[in-house]
Amino acid sequence: MLQGWIQITLTLAIVVAITPLLGSYMARVYLHQRTLLDPILRPVERVIYALSGINIQESMTGWQYARSLLLSNLVMAILVYLIFMGQGFLPLNPTTLSAPTWDTALHTTISFVTNTNQQHYSGETTFSYFSQMMGLGFLMFTSAATGLAVGIAFIRGLTGRSLGNFYVDLTRSITRILLPLSIVGAVLLLMLGVPETLDGAAIATTLEGATQAIARGPVAHFEIIKELGENGGGFFAINSAHPFENPNAATNLIETVAMIAIPTSLIYTYGVFANNRKQAWLVYGMVFAIYLGFVIITAIGEYGGNPTINALLGTPQPNLEGKEVRFGWAQSALFAVTTTGTMCGAVNALIDSFMPPGGFVTLSNLFLQIVWGGQGTGTAYLFVYLILAVFVTGLMVGRTPEFLGRKIEKREVVLASFMVLLVHPILILIPGAIALQFPLGVNALAFPDQFAGISNPGFHGLSQVIYEYASAAANNGSGLEGLADSQPAATGLWWNLSASVALLGGRYIPIIALLLLADSLSRKQPVPETAGTLRTDTPLFTGVTAGVILILGALTFFPILALGPIAEAFSLGG
């Protein structure tokens, strides 16, 4: 037991130690200050800007930023969709895979362009190396960079700067942050045993004399950006539980830290931008406390094991169902909380097999979206919650609420509450309710067979469905599985299309709102601070924010949590 907790503590200590280093580096990058890599990257970037005809001096308004973002994402999505549909004719297809069904390709494209990487397919049997590298691998960089760009534009607006240029932010996010870190990480993974090859599946003869095809491919570089960019789409179906993706404890440590490094550090970057590191650390501390609480709840649940099985065994055993023994309960629990919290979505154990506390925590992570949160957007959401907390409680000091000296008025409240309070429940609960209403199909409707194809009845089935949409809407990508969502299942079409709606809505509506909010804040005349100004960088206010997050963000989903994991926990008698 002790060993497990030491593993967790050590990982978290590394995360905290990295935060100020990476955070201030990112601040330097986005503030366009001198960095170590300048001599190499300046010319490269200059070529990119020249080729794409970007005027790097031009700063964008919120709308221009959003429009550039939507347009570039659309172009990327079309490109990748075409790659998928034409993979049969394209090179690097040693296993001669043909094109996937149109809805699988569509869902996968949307899923990857939205930084979600929800997968309704098995990577090794669906996509060629070309599709994986040029399609998925490409989107893994650009979607992560898109998220980072939004996060940084939001921070700029919040701190009264102009929003910047989307294309420049996108380029610099890749050249200065994602690419250098990925190269270092990929080399490390390679050294620790992750394969990187363009050869087709290895053919092995087993002890019984049978022939076995062992899937492999260019995994190492794919793996690191999968974690670092909060993508989470595995090269192989079983993701980071696969021994080629995550062979040992060392790679597991690297992958866990890579997942969480950027979302944590971005809070510090905010501190540099706002010139208020105290506030950054306070907010960081608040999120860290929730995160730590979640890790402890999950870990205790897994360590305690399943009471029904323990009764059969006659001795308490940790729950190792669906887990890799090389990671054990502690690393699996930490990985699961981290991957759902950061909207990465990579898994090193089957979340479906977690005990109800784990189910509760992972679902809560998806509902809250701020326990570090997605690449860039998570930090932005966090500050949107701060804005909402300012608005709700700020009146109590007898002034129009203001954050960083900027008044929170109607427009800000519309954008902030719409994006973090309204969009998420709509995208999760409405399709979820439809799927649960027709679990077995409806004669009169257009779907003749099973409508939803949910494998479990009762509480766990409910969790599976809600998790699917929560994961899509939060752009996480992990799944409780157990849904017949892969083609050629009859229900694949429903899941592909309904999840696509949640993916798109969960990604772009908040992004547009965030950018407009940032724009509107940046244009406000700051109100000078006086004794009558509510200070937001105090422990008291940070605590108030936590309360607002709990009541406004989490209570919405309380009925779901009560009928899903909580009811399941009671039914297990745990």
Binding site: R67, V414, N443, A444
Partner: protein, 86 residues
């Protein structure tokens, strides 16, 4: 190209609010009438979809309730984007 959301919202708001103010007196009955008309379509769908688990009356009631909920949600959206009107 996507038009500027602000001006779009403002346009929608203007058309809505002029319509709202001019015909305010007839507005509520008109919406109720529309709701009932829609229900003529929705209720049979509910009846069919539930495979006879509900009686015809119950189907009408359920469909009407569902439509009322949707109408209420639409109303709240209007409040969110144009709170000045209320």
């Amino acid at each position: 190209m996507i038009r500027n959301l602000n001006s779009m919202l403002a346009d929608v708001g203007e058309t809505c609010s002029t319509g709202w103010d001019s015909g305010r007196r007839q507005q509520v009955p008109r919406y109720l009438f529309l709701l009932l008309c829609l229900n003529l379509v929705a209720a049979p769908a509910v009846y069919a979809a539930t495979d006879g688990a509900f009686s015809k009356t119950q189907s009408y009631a359920i469909a009407l309730l569902a439509l009322t909920t949707v109408a209420l949600a639409a109303y709240l959206f209007v409040v969110i984007f144009q709170p000045e009107r209320f």
